[in-house]
Symmetry: D2
Subunit: 134 residues, 4 copies
């Protein structure tokens, strides 16, 4: 069990949302925030930085969005489904765009973009899976 | 391999810091940020919230500190060892205080505090292990 | 001119959004993030903390949401209107709920809640004003 | 009075730190976080992005550090002077480096770097002024 799962099952609240889907989404949000932070840094360091601009812009927004989404859905005491849905939709959409851009650069040989694309894809899927339950 | 490890090994930079220690510290920082965010929420929801004030204050600071430390040490292109050391020291110290407070409440029956105490302890240890290598 | 305004007018991009409305919204987002962070801290410190739970929950979410919205709309190089709209709508809605809760406690004598209610109201208005232009 | 000042004077706590120095530092931290976020975005958008790498790296770290410092010193209920000192020192040092790099590019014609240099300088000074009182 990850800490996110353990925190959910020990929380005094009574949120009626599937614990597996919620904890997976929390974990993927934080993982994706980290991957996007590192990918933006790696892209700026590349010789071909001028070709990676779009990837950098998307990664910086995606990192902030994933982090805040991860925080908001970690707060289950007074879970606001409307806010959660809005954040998960924005997060999934941004992960989709960012992941597509990263995948493109990954296929051109940027290995860190390939890793980040995978993190984005998993986060997008976890957001969609949680959205389907809210 | 976690995404943090994969991002480190695919980064174009040449940072001379042990990848295992660094990626473990990054992962523990993000995990602890999540656990502290959830623990603060759970503490506010407890009937005994008035007795958990110190725990809430510490968790909120610890969450922000862990997150920013995790971001800063994820940026390895121009790794500033002085800044990394300062952040890791502040993060380890805060995790120690927060973990001790959480452990105390864990022993009084607050199960989420017990989980959070473990996350803080692991983050403190990972910060200290990385500090020893910088 | 605030720094946000100066940053907008010196940015190399050519975003076609009214600078006054955008910079005002950026500034209000950061101000509201600060006020909500301080209000949550103040509420936890109050003797009547048990009656302020809802206010604390809302302030913590509102702080994170305002901050990330402020960051995302500060990045004007590749401004994504769809993402900006989604964030501004979520931010305005959260500021509205948080401001209403704070206003209620402000009327009961919590002076910091009254200040925070004003910060939320101004942020909500700035988000709505910017939304109307996107 | 800024919201930061109003929040300080209405807070139920009894922190014995000069309100003017503290509120100025809080405001400069949030302003600098915003300016650095915008400057990184502007630098990535510049044709000469390859020459602005160091500026981008510094701005991204500085934005996160300023934001977390601003949040931590906004929480005055259980103000930890040791933690505040550590954060203010790290923040002042990072603002100094980032401001110097931005000033250099400002002199080469990057107007947004010139604005950001001024935000960094004011934040560095506000951190030092507050440090002198702790």
């Amino acid at each position: 069990m990850t800490f996110a799962t353990q925190m959910l099952v020990t929380h005094p609240g009574t949120l009626d949302v599937d614990t597996d889907a919620l904890s997976r989404c929390i974990d993927e949000c934080f993982s994706c925030a980290q991957a996007c932070t590192a990918c933006a840094d790696a892209c700026v360091a590349e010789e071909s930085v001028a070709d990676l601009r779009q990837c950098i812009f998307l990664c910086l927004n995606c990192a902030d969005l994933c982090e805040t989404t991860g925080r908001i859905i970690s707060r289950t005491a007074k879970f606001d489904r409307g806010l959660a849905r809005a954040m998960l939709q924005a997060c999934a959409a941004t992960c989709k765009f960012c992941g597509a851009e990263c995948k493109h650069h990954g296929e051109m040989g940027m290995a860190h973009c390939e890793v980040c694309a995978e993190a984005c894809k998993r986060c997008e899927e976890a957001c969609q899976a949680l959205l389907a339950l809210l």
